[in-house]
């Protein structure tokens, strides 16, 4: 029986079917659901790790111990996990180790558009790229077999459209795989120079074997139709090409994107009059072709930026464009916003009142960078808010009185704590605000070491943020309720005036959490409202202007009361 499931769900199903025993991941769009679906299988030990480096080390340790193991992350997560990846490539894995890395062309929910295929080449690791949910399942299972055959980690490259599209998948039963024997072998598993030199030789030899495999493996497929146009592609872009060109073109679909075949590409290209490489993001396949003297067109026609589509391919290659309907209406944008009742809104309003520089981080609260709050100055990567603030304040000590860092609870555990240790250790005059909303919010509510629950919903040890912060050497730690505007303003102001480092924990659970009880919706008294628009400064999506007065949408308002504190005329009740 076929089921209509997400690519991510199909990867999770493959973990179950392939006898995977250990999963460790950190959430990141578009990879998150893989681990959430896998957690539903009792047969797989699953966990949220504090970050991707820890996650991959856990999975690597499990594989060396003999269990099939897995880790999923978004593209930027692999930057964090790159350290273990490069050396696990040297040690090899004993039992199968598969790493899913989800790229986000078009940046639906990311801070950059990096192409993870470069990691496969840089770490000398084989990389497979599925194009739909059925391939997600098949390739993940194949990845475990390849990992064991070649004794190497295997990367599974996903993209947003593959991870977050549903297509039919045939399910099958779990195959129980016995734990492999671990044998002590320091020459293989202890990477010091003498041992690593010998392992590097093995890695290069292994790559040659993988190249030979890539020439004839059955996931690199050729389909000949009209030979006027030859298309070399992989993943979802292959699907776009297939839809745009149908049998007007022949196709070489590469299921294995590293290492790439040479002879297969040459023989395909020699059969076709004109050959195009269609790949989103970088010219990874194109440069390989050019390096081996195969004449192809790629980035001369197609962009390095964003997502492709069937219509783009049809336009670039066939010169065809679809008719469209048009109106003269100007359509205002609809950017994402902080939810009604979101505790971040009030905190950023207090920061706006203080006119401070905000060193920002990755999470829902990054949305505070948008109007009308417009209260973020920088946002680079997970954890950078804390360390970059320290750098700013060392660059010019005057900055310290007017600058703060903001970081969510999960992001703080991920990589904010190391920056805070730097602040304590190197005598920084920095104020860090931890936005503790008791959940990993932006990726859709995952538990983390501060929430008291595991990925499977079991009770867990809870990190005590106050104690943790104190134990690294921060002496002043205060806790505020961000929705109490008066007190928040007072505490933040005092902290900025004091010398030395301070941490403020802004604590209130995410308004979308099921256990959070909401007050009845608030209403504007039109008689008292003077249309001063004070209540609109916080950017609450429930408040608008109707017939010259403020209006609160009762279907959305959760009665958080922040707008009430702003009204000088007692018009909101």
């Amino acid at each position: 029986m076929k089921e209509l499931i997400l690519g991510n769900e199909a990867v999770a199903r493959a973990l179950y079917e392939a006898g995977c025993r250990v999963l460790s991941s950190y959430p990141g769009t578009p990879s998150t659901e893989i681990s959430e679906y896998a957690a539903k299988y009792d047969e797989i030990y699953c966990e949220w790790a504090p970050n991707e480096k820890v996650a991959l080390e856990v999975a690597g340790g499990a594989a060396i111990a003999g269990a099939r193991a897995f880790s999923a992350m978004k593209h930027v997560g692999l930057n964090v996990a790159a350290d273990p990846l490069f050396t696990l490539s040297y040690t090899g894995t004993n039992a199968g180790l598969v790493i899913a890395v989800a790229d986000d062309p078009g940046m639906h929910s990311s801070q950059n558009e990096q192409d993870s295929r470069h990691y496969a080449r840089a770490s000398k690791t084989i990389m497979l790229e599925p194009a739909d949910s059925a391939e997600c399942l098949a390739y993940t299972k194949l990845a475990f077999d390849l990992s064991e055959e070649f004794d190497t980690p295997v990367l599974l490259r996903l993209t947003t459209r593959v991870s977050h599209s549903r297509s039919p998948v045939e399910l099958s039963q779990r195959q129980e795989i016995d734990l492999r024997q671990y044998e002590k072998d320091p020459g293989k598993y202890v990477m010091m120079p003498a041992m690593a030199k010998r392992r590097h030789e093995i890695v290069e030899k292994r790559l040659e074997e993988q190249r030979a495999w890539a020439e004839k493996c059955d996931i690199n497929t050729v389909e000949y139709n009209s030979k006027k146009i030859g298309i070399i592609s992989s993943g979802t872009t292959y699907m776009y090409a297939k839809e745009a060109l149908g049998d007007k073109a022949s196709y070489l679909k590469l299921g294995c994107v590293y290492p790439l075949p040479v002879d297969l590409i040459k023989s395909f290209a020699s059969q076709c009059e004109e050959v195009f490489v269609i790949e989103e993001l970088d010219d990874f396949i194109e440069s390989h072709c050019l390096k081996h003297g195969v004449e192809v067109k790629g980035k001369a026609l197609f962009s390095f930026l964003g997502e492709y589509s069937q219509s783009l391919i049809s336009e670039k290659i066939l010169g065809e464009k679809a008719d469209t309907l048009k109106t003269d209406l100007e359509v205002p944008g609809r950017p994402p916003v902080l939810c009604p009742g979101c505790p971040h809104r009030a905190l950023f309003y207090s920061l706006k009142r203080l006119k401070v520089f905000v060193s920002g981080d990755i999470g829902c609260y990054t949305l505070a960078a948008l109007a009308p709050l417009s209260m973020m100055d920088t946002c680079i990567c997970m954890g950078a808010s804390v360390s970059a603030l320290h750098g700013r304040n060392k660059a010019n000590p005057e900055n310290a009185k007017k600058s703060v860092a903001v970081i969510g609870d999960s992001t703080f555990i991920h990589s904010g704590i190391t920056g805070l240790i730097d602040i304590a250790y190197n005598k920084s005059d920095s104020v860090v605000i931890i936005l503790d909303n008791s959940i990993t919010g932006m990726t859709g509510h995952q538990d983390n070491p501060t929430t008291g629950k595991t990925i499977k919903g079991q009770p867990a040890q809870t990190v005590d943020l106050e104690k943790l912060v104190k134990s690294v050497g921060i002496e002043r730690v205060s806790v505020i309720d961000p929705n109490d505007l008066k007190n928040s303003l007072k505490v933040i102001k005092e902290e900025l005036e004091k010398p030395g480092p301070g941490v403020i924990i802004s604590r209130r659970p995410c308004a979308l959490l099921k256990y959070v009880k909401h007050a009845p919706p608030l209403k504007v008294d039109r008689g008292k409202c003077t249309a001063c628009r004070m209540c609109m400064r916080i950017g609450c999506p429930t408040i608008s202007f109707k017939q010259g007065k403020a209006f609160i949408d009762a279907t959305q308002c959760v009665g958080c009361g922040v707008c009430q504190q702003l009204c000088n005329f007692d018009a909101i009740n």
Binding site: H164, K326, V331, R533, S544
Partner: protein, 197 residues
């Protein structure tokens, strides 16, 4: 048959994902190849959201492009306008008339456009406006606006009625099944136009 393309567009939080899942399930049960492309993550926070559903004998690309959609279900008039270009000339659009102001309108930076439905109709597209909010409220909850719209969508697709009802029963929590079925029936009763095979 050729591949049919449907888009479900709206504002994050309006329940567009549930709608595409119901539709995908119903189409699968009829033996079609189906692809559904969803939006997760950042845009769910009150931003513009779009979901694509494609079905036919064999579907390759999971996304729908400009000029390709046979049918668009818009949960909000402004979103209907945003995605109008994606409609195939001669295609149909069902528009929920419940207006939700985006942040640039809330802050007063821009105005919400006037006479949206009339201007959409002037393009020659077949537009069916539906005020689903009061219908949903009368049945029992503002949260079932999406299922009223699923009903209206079912009215313009050639699938057996019991397939939809089964798909709803399998997708929504048990205690809400009855209310959802009522919402579906209310939407189904609204006259729309049939997508041609």
């Amino acid at each position: 048959m050729s591949v049919k393309s449907i888009m479900i567009v709206g504002v994050g939080g309006q329940g567009t994902l549930l709608t595409s899942r119901l539709l995908g399930k119903a189409l699968m049960s009829q033996g079609y190849d189906v692809k559904v492309s969803e939006v997760h993550g950042m845009s769910q926070r009150g931003g513009a959201v779009v979901t694509y559903v494609k079905y036919g004998e064999k579907v390759s690309s999971p996304i729908v492009e400009k000029g390709e959609a046979d049918l668009i279900i818009a949960f909000e008039p402004l979103e209907a306008t945003r995605w109008l270009e994606y409609l195939k000339p001669g295609g149909e659009m069902i528009v929920n008339t419940q207006q939700i102001d985006p942040m640039p309108v809330v802050t007063g930076a821009v105005e919400y456009p006037e006479d949206v439905i009339e201007k959409l109709q002037a393009t020659g597209a077949f537009i069916t406006p539906i005020d689903a909010l009061p219908i949903a409220e009368e049945i029992g909850s503002v949260k079932i606006v999406n299922v009223v719209l699923v009903g209206a969508m079912a009215g313009c697709m050639d699938l057996p009625l019991d397939i939809w009802r089964k798909s709803i029963k399998e997708t929504v929590p048990e205690k809400f099944i009855e209310m959802n079925l009522k919402a579906f029936d209310a939407g189904y009763g609204i006259k729309t136009c049939l997508i041609e095979e």
